[in-house]
Amino acid sequence: MKTLLTDFRSEFRDRILDLLWRQWSTFGVAGHGAQWHGSPIDPEALLLLTCSIGRYDARLFDGMVEWMGVNGQLINVQRLKRIIATEQYAGEQVLRAVAATVSDSVSASKWATTVISKDDACQPVPLFFLKDGTPMPIVRQPDKLFEGYGLQRDPYEARGVAQVFRAELVSNLILRLRAFLGVNARCEIIAYLLLNEHGSPSSLARNAYYLPLTISKAMTEMRGSGFLVSRVNGRRRDHRLTPGIWRELFLGEERPHSLVWPRLFRAIETLWEFLGDSNLTDKEPLAQASALRRVLNKSVVDRVETSGLDFAFGNLATHPGEALIAFAVERIATLLTIMESPNDR
């Protein structure tokens, strides 16, 4: 049955696709006018969300694949694996096909141990969908490589839309640090301390998706440089960058907000899995509301509210039964508005 919730689907999808486009555009994918101006972009989180919601915009998806061919050496595969394992992203099968597409003789070993392995043979499913949720028709011989991963699409062709990322943009901080220091935990440590001023190894490991031991070891070594200082605060050892040039060097005049994008994007992906389910319309409003409450309570509210975004869902219990639908639609729309420009808050 049509409700506010089912009517909200297309707005939700379009706003998320617009956000993804703006982040990819900032990373160097041409084809969308607006750039991202907000919390520094998390490459792994962006990749993972595009592997699911990006299936509703083939041009965006292929822009991502092409970008991976140009800048893929800056993706942290170990971190990608850890994010997938921690947050249970849905697009792992798609990611494997993307990794296989961009893997060449140089990068093969980087991807080989992680995401390239194929699932057991299964019935191929469409990779792309139209806005109404129906599969995008395939007009040519399906792409053999994607088909090997159980995904059907027209042959992938690079269109020359991806460039090397622009290092001077603060939104590209993570890529810039990786280009400078290499793809390792030190980039996330520096980015975290730049954006949050200070942090303990445990909070940093949790929010940057590394093993605590990895972060602790790296921080101990980094303290030896004199650029990182620590102070014991109760049972925690609090770290910060030494005052001086760091902020000016990497952030200039900007003071971007720190967000845990993998957590936030997984909440968004979960909402889309729910809203995009074609069976949703078959349910009566009471059943839609009941299912929505399960999704929000189990997988969305906590993730969003611990992502660093200045947003709280409010008390779902005060909106019983079908009343939840109108309340949740309003709150999710507000969430999207805040996500779209987190630095304005």
């Binding site: 059943a287 009941s290 019983p320």
Partner: protein, 123 residues
């Protein structure tokens, strides 16, 4: 404070219970209720009640003990409590929860006099 249940709320709760059993792909269940909720649901009195008391379960036409309640029913009832802001114990087997309960002492003999109503496929 959790709300009391009138006819409208009870109908909503029972529909919600059927929805949750369906969504959870649970086995169907037949429940025999007594007390205020039974009187309200059958339209005999227009009062309110604080809970739905299950006195027995029915399987293949035979009454069986409701102690313990099936886990799938407990889970669905808990979810309905969340959905509708009801008391977590809104659906219970209080009258027949122990050896001296209504089912165990009396109800088996009364089977032929009871009527029942289908709420949905699984309830």
């Amino acid at each position: 404070m959790k709300k009391s249940l009138n006819r409208t709320t009870l109908d909503l709760a029972m529909r919600s219970l059927a929805i949750r059993l369906d969504e959870n792909d649970a086995d169907g269940v037949q429940i025999v209720v007594c007390g205020g909720s039974a009187l309200i649901l059958t339209g005999m009195v227009p009062r309110t009640t604080k809970d739905v008391a299950i006195v027995a379960l029915m399987r293949s036409g035979a009454l069986i003990s409701p102690a313990p309640l099936p886990p799938s029913l407990c889970q669905a009832a808990q979810e309905v409590a969340e959905d509708l802001a009801l008391d977590p114990n809104w659906l219970n087997n209080g009258p027949s929860s122990g050896e001296g309960g209504l089912f165990q002492m009396v109800l088996k003999r009364m089977l032929k006099e009871l009527g029942y109503e289908d709420v949905a496929d699984r309830l």
